[in-house]
C-alpha cells in the first residue's frame, strides 16, 4: 500500500475502521493517562510494564481455550496486580522483585501455551504490538463502558485518591479506607492495561500510560490541571499516531508512542529553555 498525502486525511473518515480506531484510541488514552498519572506519583510506573507482560499469558490462555483474549488478559492482569501487592505487603518481596516474579510467571505461561497450541502465533503478534485498526463496534462499546466506569471511580473518589497518593499514612489516619481504595485502584490498573493492549499492544502499553502524565508533570501546575493536561497529551498522541500511521503506512502503536515521546521531549525542552 502506498503512502497517502495530507489531503487524503478527510477521506479516511469515510472508513468505519478508522473512525472506530479514533474513538477507541481516545477512550483508551483518557483512562490510561489518568490512571498513569496516579501510578507515576505513586512511583509504580514499572508495575504497568510488569503486569502488561504478565497479560501475555492471559492473551495466550484466551486464544488457547477459545475465549476473548482480552478477557484472559484482564483476569491474568488482575491476578498479577494483586499478587504483586500481596508480596509487597507481606514482605515476601520488594516492589521491583515482586514485579519481576509476576512478569516471569505470566510470560512463561504464555510461552508454554504457545508451544502446546502451535497455531496462533500471528494472532498473538497483534496483541503484542496492538491492532487498533481492527477494532470492532463491540470493542468500542466494551471500552466505552469500562472507560466510563474508571472515570466515574476517579471523579467520585478524586479527593480520596489524591490524599492517599500524596500521603498514604496521613490518609489512613484521616479515616480513608486506604486498603479498599488501593484494591479498587489496582483493579482499574488491570482493566486499563487489558483494554490498552488492543490499542497499543502488550509491549508498548506502559508508554501510553506513563508518557502523557510525565509530559503533563513538566508543566508544573496544580494536580487538577496536570490531570487534564495528561489526558489532552494522551488524546493528542493517540489521534496523531493513528493519522500519521495511516499517512505513512507504518505501525500505529509505534507512531503513537513516538508521538507521545516527541511531545514529552518538546514540552520538557520548552520548559527548561523558556
Amino acid at each position: 500500500m502506498s503512502s497517502l498525502s495530507l489531503f487524503d486525511i478527510p477521506s479516511l473518515f469515510q472508513y468505519q475502521f478508522f473512525v472506530l480506531a479514533l474513538i477507541g484510541g481516545t477512550l483508551a488514552a483518557i483512562v490510561s493517562s489518568w490512571i498513569g498519572l496516579f501510578l507515576i506519583l505513586r512511583k509504580e510506573s514499572m508495575l504497568v510494564d510488569g503486569v502488561a507482560h504478565t497479560a501475555f499469558g492471559g492473551v495466550a490462555l484466551g486464544l488457547f481455550i477459545g475465549i476473548d483474549p482480552i478477557l484472559g488478559a484482564l483476569v491474568v492482569s488482575a491476578v498479577s496486580v494483586y499478587g504483586i501487592t500481596y508480596m509487597r505487603r507481606k514482605g515476601l518481596a520488594q516492589s521491583d522483585s515482586a514485579i519481576a516474579v509476576m512478569l516471569a510467571i505470566g510470560f512463561s505461561l504464555g510461552i508454554i501455551i504457545i508451544s502446546m497450541a502451535n497455531g496462533f502465533n500471528v494472532e498473538l503478534l497483534s496483541y503484542l504490538f496492538g491492532s487498533i485498526l481492527t477494532m470492532s463496534y463491540n470493542d468500542v462499546i466494551v471500552l466505552s463502558v469500562l472507560t466510563l466506569g474508571a472515570i466515574g471511580f476517579l471523579v467520585f473518589f478524586y479527593k480520596e485518591m489524591l490524599a492517599l497518593t500524596f500521603d498514604e499514612d496521613g490518609a489512613h489516619m484521616q479515616g480513608i479506607p486506604v486498603q479498599g481504595m488501593t484494591m479498587a485502584f489496582n483493579l482499574l490498573v488491570a482493566v486499563t492495561i487489558a483494554l490498552s493492549i488492543k490499542v497499543i499492544g502488550i509491549i508498548l502499553v506502559v508508554a501510553l500510560m506513563v508518557l502523557p502524565g510525565l509530559t503533563a508533570l513538566q508543566l508544573h501546575r496544580s494536580f487538577k490541571s496536570t490531570l487534564v493536561a495528561s489526558s489532552l497529551f494522551g488524546i493528542f498522541a493517540t489521534i496523531m499516531g493513528i493519522i500519521l500511521s495511516a499517512l505513512f503506512n507504518v505501525a500505529t502503536s509505534g507512531v503513537i508512542v513516538f508521538t507521545a515521546a516527541g511531545v514529552f521531549l518538546f514540552v520538557a525542552a520548552y520548559q527548561r529553555l523558556a
Binding site: 479527593k159 489524591l162 496544580s222 490541571s225 496536570t226
Partner: protein, 259 residues
C-alpha cells in the same frame, strides 16, 4: 478542666522492646503541651499510640472521653508528622489543594466538595497567614512556608486537638519563633489543645502550659512560674543535665506578625 487525653499505665512495644513503659498522664482541654526527651526516647511512638496508629500492649488511652478503640471522631484530631514535609517536591499540588486534603475523611467519602469545605480551607490559610501562597505549588515553598501549609491542612477540619511531631527541626530561629507564636495564638484565641514534639526547650518552658518528658517513661508536669525545669529534665535526660535558664531570654527571638 475537662480532660481531652487520659493515659493509664500505657505500655507500647516496637518489635520485642518496650518503648513506652507504664505511662500515666492527663492532658486537659486547652493545654499547650511540649513533648521532649532524648533521641530514641519514644516521643514519636507515644504520639503514634495517641493517634491509634500503633497498638498498645497494655493500659488504656481515652481521647475526648472515649476509649481509643471505639473513638471515631478523628476529624477532630489534627496531626502533622515529622516526615510530612519531606514529600516529593515535584508532586503537582498547590497549597490550596494540599490544605483541601485535610477535609477528606470517612464521613464525606465519595462526596463532592461543597462551598463550606473551600471556606474552611480559606480560613485555615488565613489562620496560618499563607493566603498569598494558595496558588503556589508546594514544591516551591520554603521550609517555614511548608510547615505552615501542613499545619493549615491539619487545621482545616477544625480539630479540637492538634499533634505535631518535630515541626520546627529545619527552621531558622526567627521562623521557629514565628511558628510557635502562631500556635500560641491558636491555643489562646481558639482554645485548641496542642501537643508538640520539640527539642526547643526555650519555647516549651516559655510558651507552653505542660511538658511531657519522654524517655521510655513519661514524666508530666504543669509549667508555672515556679516550675524548675531541671527537676523535669533530669528525669528524662539524666542527672548530669543542668538547664541554664535566663528569665529575660524567655522572650526568645521576637518577630512581629507582618515581617
Amino acid at each position: 478542666m475537662e480532660p481531652i487525653i487520659e493515659v493509664q499505665e500505657l505500655v507500647v512495644k516496637r518489635g520485642p522492646s518496650e518503648v513506652i513503659s507504664e505511662a500515666s498522664f492527663v492532658i486537659e482541654r486547652g493545654d499547650y503541651v511540649g513533648i521532649m526527651g532524648p533521641n530514641g526516647g519514644g516521643k514519636t511512638t507515644l504520639v503514634l499510640a495517641l493517634l491509634g496508629m500503633l497498638p498498645k500492649e497494655k493500659g488504656s488511652i481515652r481521647i475526648m472521653g472515649e476509649d481509643i478503640e471505639s473513638f471515631d471522631q478523628w476529624d477532630k484530631v489534627g496531626y502533622v508528622s515529622q516526615y510530612a514535609i519531606n514529600f516529593d517536591s515535584h508532586f503537582p499540588l498547590t497549597v490550596r489543594e494540599l490544605v483541601g486534603l485535610g477535609r477528606v475523611n470517612r464521613k464525606n467519602l465519595g462526596r463532592f466538595r461543597k462551598k463550606e469545605d473551600w471556606k474552611a480551607v480559606d480560613e485555615a490559610l488565613e489562620a496560618m497567614n499563607i493566603t498569598n501562597l494558595a496558588r503556589k505549588r508546594i514544591g516551591q515553598l520554603s521550609g517555614g512556608q511548608r510547615q505552615r501549609a501542613f499545619v493549615a491542612k491539619s487545621l482545616v477540619s477544625k480539630p479540637e486537638l492538634l499533634m505535631l511531631d518535630e515541626p520546627v527541626t529545619d527552621l531558622d530561629p526567627v521562623s521557629r519563633e514565628r511558628f510557635f507564636k502562631r500556635l500560641s495564638n491558636l491555643n489562646q484565641m481558639k482554645g485548641l489543645t496542642i501537643l508538640i514534639v520539640s527539642h526547643d526547650l526555650t519555647a516549651i518552658f516559655c510558651r507552653m502550659s505542660r511538658v511531657l518528658c519522654v524517655n521510655k517513661q513519661v514524666h508530666s508536669a504543669a509549667i508555672t512560674e515556679e516550675t524548675v525545669p531541671d527537676d523535669i529534665l533530669r528525669k528524662g535526660y539524666g542527672d548530669h543535665f543542668h538547664f541554664v535558664f535566663h528569665r529575660e531570654l524567655c522572650k526568645g527571638v521576637f518577630v512581629d506578625e507582618q515581617s
